[in-house]
Amino acid sequence: MPMVDIDWLKDHVEVPEGLTYEQLAKDLVKVGLEEEEIHTSQLIGPIVVGYVVDATPEPQKNGKVINWCHVDVGDEYNETDENGNKVPRGIICGAPNMAAGEKVVVTLPGAVLPGDFKIEPRKTYGHISNGMCASERELGLGDNHDGIILLRKYGFTPEEYEKLKPGDDAMHLLHLDEPLLEINITPDRGYAFSYRGVAREYHHSTGATYTDPAVALNEKAPVTQGLPEGTKTDIEVIVEDNNPIHGVVGCDRYYARAVHGFDPASHTPNWMRRRLTRAGMRSISLAVDVTNYVMLDLGQPMHAYDLDKIEGPIVVRRAAEGETLTTLDGKKHDLNVEDLLITDSPNGERGSRILGIAGVMGGLYGEVTAETKNILLESAHFDQVSIARSARRHKIPSEASRRFERGVDDQLQPAAAQMAAELMVRYGSGEPSEHPTDVNTVGCARTIHFKATEVARVAGLDTDVNTISGILTDIGCSVAGGGNGEFSVTPPSWRPDLNEPCDLVEEVARLVGYDEIPVTVPPAPVEGKVGLTAEQLRKRQVADELAEYGMVETLSYPFVGDEDYKYFAYDKDEIKKISVEIANPLAGDRPFLRRTIIPTLAQTVQRNLRRGVENVSLYEIGHVYLWDPNAPAIPALPGAVRPTDEQLEALDAGLPDQPMHVAGILTGDAVDTGWMGERRAVDWSDAVEAVHRISDRIGAGLTLDQPKAEDVPAQWHPGRAARVMAGDVFIGMVGELHPHVNEALDLPAHSAAFELDLTALFATLSGKPVQAKPISTFPPVKQDLAFTVPTDVAAAALQQAIVEAAGDSLEDIKLFDVYTGDQLGEGVKSLAYAVTFRAPDKTLTSEDSEAIRKRIVDEAAKLGARLRA
């Protein structure tokens, strides 16, 4: 994001003396230019001006010649000799351009240069060097490291140079101590990617006097319209767009201006290099530096061609199938038929040679070089969408494309070329052409019909009509009408983002100030059911219940991959077919979304165990993602139009199901060893209890259905896993994880787990209030019933049989003993129940309870159960 240098900003707007970067940041953020960072100098002084008193060349054994110098750095910093007199410092310098009589930049002991380079006195080449004469690179001023900085050549006037005294602060002199404000530009504010734009915003924020540099420059630019027939312009330009995007021609303005007789040996002035360097751009050559400088200053990306290498006409066209281009950065690109190209016409073959991708990056041919004497400046206006797509397609986000895709002022091209030409001529000699080419098909400026009342209707601001009109004029709009509170507003050419009345409301609101907007609280209409839905409440109940049960809630990332599939014994090819896959995953090894929570929750369990936490029992509530390989493709639809009902259905039809699940994993000890008793290790029963507690908390009546070992999914212990059912609806699984899973994840043996589909579960619940039964006050009859049953009869089945046989008189039933052992024999277990009978309307007689008991015994017998004596 762009850097703001107060020194540069002053070119366009009056800035108060002593403005700090902190205050500048505050002023700009008020109008919407947010501070990213205030960069402070990485340098620590003392760094001062030095006068080289003498420099004695001393050839070294390695062939190098170094200079043993004495440098006057002023009384404050000079050395003191044995007589107490101040004398110049002794400094070793290896730079070839070191010479007596020069004024140089001396970094003294205590100074710190970029890269944490600390300056200290050091013994070298047989002398004590008491400081260092610095090059540009050493000070972070640029790339130059061919020699030290000679201030004589550093852009000062003779008078200024004369005034430089040994010991003067060079940090201040070279702007090394200046901070820099980096700001964020939102995508709608392309014009703020320039000093011209930032200065205007500073004016909006503070009222400081602003001068738009483009106005004077445009006036100075040569006339291009209405010239006599046959007037020869700098080069013929043809825009030939056979594939416009959204019907918009890729280039609606191409302005080209020549500079003849340019001196390729000329140098970029230091002030310009300093400004470019501070803006984060490398100084390359005067011609290139000028185009970059103009872009930073005005916001118009430019390109400089070697005019002698180019053969007209220049053709702006779309790429043809199969064309390629190697860009300046050396990368080869396969071009797309949507890429807009700048081409020329060698040997009369129109548009046959590609010079670059328009507005994105130039190619290797046609660039200015160290030999270029005649320059062609390109200052064009390209379609935002076309540039954005090319930059995205070829992954070249250049400084130019960044500006074009946000929108460049379409009236700025002559001004930018004028400014560039002036700078080139001033610093590199030469003659700008008086007959630039201007192919201009920019349409008429649009007008917005704007009711002043919109400001109140949308922003809630009570702003009078004159203020509104004044603000719109100040941002550059031309405003007509207003008598009836309605305006015809023409936005300025640099604000392509202003298209709708609401855009103008924002301009008024932000310049009046958001702080001026009053504060009210809207009453929401109370209609239909208010409050949380039953599902939302149940989700909270489940979450609270598990925490109260002693488990800890966590959230894991839903990403899974081969490793997880392996650990959980999934057939990875099969599961991938029905899993959502990320096209650009972060971790390449987990590109899929989970179908169940347990594998990602297990990663969290594992992390805790590895950190030495014991008895980890975690749960998570979250979504899972069920890919349907046969789902229809989702259509692309435009915004700002309500899709038809069929289109809306098509959108949702292509999306995967994403039910909400709850899963838990319990490990280690369910009860810890402590002073109150002995430990008990977690097993299947802890997970089953969790499921029952969920069921009871939300009134679900979940039951378990234990499959045969061969039907148990591979993740689960074949003898210790059950399906959780809500009536006939499958809700999930509970049990112990398969020992292989525990082993793979380093989980303790018998780790237990459950996973329930809450979306499916909640759908089975009616939400109707519980219908209460009257409470009987007649006495109960309590009995114990112990049965022997074959081992493979499930306890739930026997209990179900007892409950059904007992009928309404059964008040309570509890299993109080499970026994297997030698006394019973092979394949048999004993289940003992305490039952309570009670009638609603009478005292049960012994005949009554005997009848119930007999019904129970008969029914149980059908399962092979026998009542024990």
Binding site: P187, R389, A547, H623, G639, L648, G654
Partner: protein, 355 residues
């Protein structure tokens, strides 16, 4: 005593006096009960003397009866007083013997812990519900139309490229910009629920959408690729930016206490116009109260209303979104995002059931 025993007033008086003296020296209930049997039981002098009254001449019976009545009362009173005393002593001894160290750690049914993030989302939901709003929840794997196009992020909108989107592989179709894709993403913002809400619930609409969102940021101290937002959307016939400011201030107070307030700074989002960055005045900020970035907001862009088939000349609305992680980090002085996302039980256990 043998049949035909003689009533001897002196003897029975002496016996009772002896019994009372023994009562007074007794120190346990066992002892007391033995004394009672000995001096007031069936074989005792007192019982025998009472029986002997029947054999006395008629004129002596009355006096003997009075003597016996007094003796019984004396004995009974002495016994009762002592019984109470001994019982109290015995109870005190028993209780002393049962004394425990009440400060021993007792944790038979330890509580687990809720994660503070969903708890905070519940708090935010409760805030909106208290204002009469509804809570909505949309899909995390979302169509690009709901996540972008309907929100005025056209296919070529620069902001669409700035969202660091996770794209989903799928049945390939060309998107509107001609790039081949599934038109499906992991939603980058809970704003994707805006147009869903408008289309399914209609207007007037006051909804909050808390949920999970995704961006392709690597996990570090301040970023996480999976995070949470709460989006709020109100669309009605009379809403202005003033209403937006009011709801924001109320939410700030609900989350950060009575001194909290909010400030808006001009900004840009495709789905709002005017748009603003939302700053929070955070009284408990480290190093002193101050402003902190909290979220984004604005008035619903007319194009969003049009995506839902509403007339922007009739309806206006406001929307805002705040990051749940950011709210938590601020509120609880959490310095590292890792703590929030790694699921270390030691982190959640600090919050137990609240936050």
């Amino acid at each position: 005593m043998a049949e035909g025993a003689v009533f001897d007033a002196q003897a029975v008086t002496d016996a009772v006096a002896e019994g009372i003296a023994k009562i007074e020296n007794a120190s346990s209930m066992e002892e007391l009960k033995a004394i009672k049997t000995q001096y007031a039981g069936a074989e005792s002098a007192m019982t025998q003397a009472s029986k002997a009254i029947g054999a006395l001449p008629k004129d002596q019976k009355k006096e003997a009866g009075q003597i016996m009545g007094r003796l019984r009362a004396d004995f009974g009173r002495a016994y009762g007083v002592k019984e109470q005393q001994v019982k109290a002593e015995e109870e005190a001894r028993a209780l002393a013997a049962e004394t425990v160290d009440m400060t021993l750690p007792v944790n038979r049914k330890p509580l687990g812990a809720r994660h503070p993030l969903p708890k905070l989302m519940e708090d935010v939901e409760d805030f909106f519900v208290s204002m009469g709003w509804q809570i909505s929840d949309g899909p995390e794997v979302e169509t690009e139309w709901y996540d972008f196009d309907a929100l005025n992020f056209g296919p070529d909108h620069p902001a669409r490229q700035m969202q660091d989107t996770f794209y989903v592989k799928g049945n390939q179709a060309k998107d509107a910009a001609g790039f081949v894709g599934s038109n499906m993403v992991l939603r980058t913002q809970t704003s994707s629920d805006q147009v869903r809400g408008l289309l399914t619930r209609g207007v007037p609409l006051y909804i909050a959408c808390p949920g999970r969102v995704f961006r392709t940021d690597e996990l570090d101290a301040t970023h996480t690729p999976v995070f949470h937002q709460v989006e709020a959307l109100a669309v009605d016939k009379h809403l202005t930016m003033a209403d937006l400011k009011g709801v924001l201030d109320k939410l700030a107070v609900a989350m950060f206490g009575p001194e909290a307030k909010t400030r808006l700074r001009p900004s840009y989002f495709p789905f709002t116009e005017p748009s603003a960055e939302l700053d929070l005045w955070f009284p408990d900020k480290k190093g002193g109260a101050g402003w902190l970035e909290w979220g984004g907001c604005g008035m619903v862009n007319p194009n969003v209303l049009k995506s839902a088939g509403l007339d922007p000349e009739v309806y206006t609305g406001f929307a805002f979104g705040v990051g749940v992680e950011r709210t938590l980090l601020l509120r609880h002085d959490i310095n590292d995002m890792h703590d929030l996302v790694e699921g270390d039980v030691r982190f959640s256990e600090q919050f137990v059931m609240g936050e």
